[in-house]
């Protein structure tokens, strides 16, 4: 049970790390055009 005293603070930190990753993705506009990357292979140009 004692390990929880370490794991719970760790999970809080992990959430912040994940949030950081998401911020990076949002800020670079990765969610703005979700369709066209998939369609690109179908286009000639």
């Amino acid at each position: 049970m004692d390990i929880l005293y370490l794991l719970i603070p760790l999970s809080v930190i992990l959430v912040f790390v994940i949030l950081g990753g998401l911020w990076w993705a949002v800020d670079r506009g990765q969610f703005e055009d979700i369709e066209s990357e998939g369609e690109r292979i179908l286009k000639d140009t």
């Binding site: 929880l4 959430v15 703005e32």
Partner: protein, 789 residues
């Protein structure tokens, strides 16, 4: 311009304290060159301008009233209209009394931000806003999930399972993860609530922000001071959950609104910012679109949009002119053909010579029409605006009352009941109910080639029970068509037509044009079969207005020397001195010095879809009438062809208006369909009106609906859509009323937990927008079949 763009973007968010620098930035907009980018001269008078701006920071109907009030208080601002769903404002101001910076500052002083519409940076800003919204939502979502994990043990643990220390640790972790949700994700709610409080007004954001704040305070006190007055209960899971629901609702609403109201916006902002212009040395270079001038040569690649009206000089392509004409099929364009600003180049790289730019283009007129329409408010929305404020006050009082009632038993529980009341109410659904549906319908119609000038027109049209059609140019095509030829024995029909056309070429009368067109068609057919035909030239042509043309006609080419010129007369029976034939339709005669040569019978042609449209209207249960200024005989013929029983000919415009009034006096609600050219008063007198946009300049059209293409079926489609729209508006209003009527009492008696209240509110306004979205699928107008080919 870009410097202003970035400068306005970087203005500090707390405007009341924004000092001289903000004013300097706005002062840049006082340059007439800058303001003409988002303004145009108003019809109200000399020196009056009509500006179109996007208002930022608006969240509900009450906001639009505040902004309107702030604008109207500025001396020199003649009128201001703010659409709450479209967030667009139309401001008419006089350049003699006020400058744009003054009224923009007024908007900012009231806590909002005005950004010139149709500009590069308006879209840039929107992009930034969307990113921020997404990011807030993600933070709330992730934190919610984790807080839920920490809350779980407290729900399932049996007494004694969870040690006090462990429980405290879990609460502490929940608190830490709730912090970013409160400080960042809820930021807009708190900022808006604070702004409204400092300006002593009330808005949607206030109850929600209050609810969040109370929950957070109660839970924080419960965490760090379990012996405090609020008890040791914590609500971090409820708090993060309802913030997440709320943001989800907002986010989806934003996306949906972009698709409905945004459909209009997308049409308006479809012109690219830069174009490839030919330089003096023949090379092409990218320049800003606003630098293009008449006479420039532009290169347009496939997939790009034409930025100016012009004529193709190099290349051939297919274009999509759906917005301009409602024609959804790609149209072929070759060298010498005209292309329009706002249409899409689909297949080939072409060059065009610019003939009209900016406000002179048809596209600009369409955009102007749509902009003013999206800033108008339908009556339903006005009502919702008015009741929004008393409604919010009632909610705050109800929350306070519920809190006071429960306080004696358990202060912590009392506050959470108040929170549920604050969060569950949703005047947003009420104020969105009407405009969301109407904007969706207007966007849909615009894509189908029907412009809505007044949103209110949709409501009137849905109630209409009688349709009145004008004849010429509405049920019939503008041009007349040759229907038959009778000739003197020994004269071929083709030859008679060729001689008549040679004369007719010198006149602009519709009859003459019809003859020339008919001859051109036959000549093309003859050429195809490689048969020989004679061409004719003529001399000394004189035209007697309204009667006919006379002149000397002779064959051209090698045979010319053999045949002597003939004196021919083409025109009415009296002009040619021959007896009129007894045939239906309009007739013109051709005669030489020996007398009658030929008679041409011309008829007005029904629009291809006229009969279908009339039948469809009758099937929908409407009375269909026809009025015309033409003679009774041709009116009766057209009426019979179109399937209209009630038709009246020989009407002056005043007669038409009287007839309309008579119908209205008998309790009918009347829609008038005209060509928009000479029936302005009649159109204005009808409950709802349609005009064909090809005849009259768009800006002068006074009709509620302007049909850009040729399809008469558009009238029927619009009627169906209007009825559908009003059905959806009614559903929305009922839903909003029932939801609030049911949920507020439940919350007051404490039966609704805070998280459920948040879910309810988010779902409620989402449902309204989703319901409106049912109007968004594209209209399917059947393509017109061209006559004569």
């Amino acid at each position: 311009m870009l410097t202003i763009a970035t400068a306005i973007q970087d203005l500090p968010a707390d405007f009341p304290s924004a000092g001289a620098s903000a004013r300097d930035v706005l002062a840049l907009l006082d340059d007439p060159q800058e303001w003409s980018a988002f303004s145009r001269p108003s019809a109200l008078g000399q020196g009056c301008w009509e500006s179109s701006v996007v208002i930022e920071g608006m969240h509900c109907a009450a906001c639009s009233l505040t902004v309107e009030d702030a604008l109207k208080k500025v001396p020199g601002v003649l009128s201001a209209q703010v659409g709450s769903a479209s967030r667009r404002a139309k401001i008419v101001w006089s350049s003699a009394d006020v400058l744009p910076s003054a009224w923009m500052q007024a908007v900012q002083a009231s806590g909002y931000r005005a950004v010139p519409a149709n500009d590069v940076f308006a879209s840039e800003r929107r992009k930034r806003e969307t990113r921020q919204a997404l990011w807030r939502w993600l933070v709330a979502g992730l934190c919610m999930m984790q807080v839920m994990m920490y809350a779980y043990p407290a729900y399932v643990a049996l007494p004694g399972d969870l040690s006090g220390e462990m429980e405290q640790l879990l609460r502490w972790a929940s608190w830490v993860l709730t912090l970013p949700v409160m400080l960042f994700s809820c930021g807009p709610f708190f900022r808006n609530a604070l702004r409204d409080l400092t300006h002593a007004r009330i808005s949607m954001a206030l109850p929600v922000a209050l609810g969040m704040l109370i929950t957070f305070v109660v839970s924080t006190v419960g965490t760090f001071e379990p012996q405090g007055i609020f008890g040791r209960e914590v609500y971090f899971d409820s708090l993060t959950m309802f913030v997440f629901f709320l943001l989800t609702g907002r986010w989806l609403e934003l996306r949906l609104r972009d698709r409905t109201a945004g459909a209009l916006e997308a049409l308006m902002n479809r012109l690219p910012d830069s174009v490839e212009r030919q330089l003096a040395n023949g090379q092409f270079a990218r320049v800003a679109a606003r630098r293009v001038q008449v006479g420039d040569v532009l290169r347009v690649n496939p997939g790009e949009t034409f930025t100016a009206d012009g004529v193709l000089t190099v290349g051939a392509t297919r274009v999509d002119e759906a917005l301009l004409t409602g024609e959804s099929r790609p149209l072929a364009r070759k060298v010498g053909d005209a292309v329009w600003s706002g249409s899409h180049n689909l297949t080939g790289t072409v060059q065009l010579r610019v003939e009209r730019i900016g406000a002179a283009t048809r596209f600009a007129q369409i955009v102007a029409l749509m902009e003013s329409a999206s800033a108008t408010k339908p009556q339903g929305a006005l009502l919702a605006d008015r009741i929004a404020k008393p409604f919010l006050i009632a909610v705050l009082l109800a929350a306070a009352g519920a809190c006071a009632w429960w306080w004696g038993r358990d202060p912590g529980h009392a506050l959470m009941v108040a929170v549920a009341v604050l969060v569950v109410t949703c005047p947003c659904a009420l104020s969105l109910a009407t405009p969301a549906a109407m904007l969706a319908a207007a966007g849909n119609l615009a894509r189908g080639g029907v412009l809505v000038r007044r949103l209110q027109g949709l409501e009137s049209l849905a109630r209409v029970d009688t349709f009145v059609f004008d004849k010429t140019g509405t049920l019939t095509l503008d041009a007349m068509v040759l229907h038959g030829i009778e000739t003197r024995d020994g004269l071929a029909q083709d030859q008679a037509l060729a001689m008549a056309a040679a004369l007719a070429r010198h006149s602009l009368h519709p009859v003459s044009r019809a003859l020339v067109n008919a001859q051109a068609l036959r000549a093309a057919a003859v050429e195809k079969s490689h048969a020989s035909h004679t061409t004719w030239t003529c001399d000394a042509v004189t035209e007697s207005a309204g009667e006919g043309v006379a002149g000397w006609v002779q064959t051209a080419g090698p045979a010319a020397a053999d045949i002597k010129p003939v004196a021919l007369r083409l025109g009415s029976a009296s002009f040619c001195a021959v007896p009129a034939r007894c045939v239906p339709g309009l007739q013109v005669h051709l005669c030489d010095d020996q007398g009658w040569l030929a008679t041409f019978i011309l008829q007005e042609d029904l629009r291809p879809q006229a009969a279908d449209a009339v039948r469809a209207l009758q099937e929908l249960g409407l009375d269909v009438h026809m009025l015309s200024g033409d003679g009774a005989m041709s009116v009766a013929r057209v009426a019979a062809q179109a399937g209209i029983v009630q038709a009246r000919g020989a009407c002056t415009p005043q007669d038409k208006l009287d007839f309309l009034r008579q119908l209205q006096a008998n309790g009918h609600s009347v829609a008038m369909v005209g060509d928009g050219l000479n029936d302005g008063p009649v159109l204005a007198g009808a409950n709802a009106s349609f005009a064909f946009g090809q005849a009259a300049p768009l800006a002068q059209s006074k009709a509620d609906f302007v049909i850009l293409g040729e399809q008469l079926m558009a009238v029927v489609q619009t009627l169906r859509l209007a009825r559908h729209t009003m059905a959806i508006v009614r559903q929305n209003l009922w839903w909003a009323l029932l939801y609030n009527a049911a949920c507020v009492p439940l919350a007051v008696v404490g039966l609704l937990p805070a998280w459920l209240a948040g879910l309810g509110m988010a779902a409620s306004s989402l449902l309204v927008v989703l319901n409106a979205l049912r109007l968004a699928p594209r209209l399917t107008l059947s393509s017109p079949t061209k006559m004569g080919d």
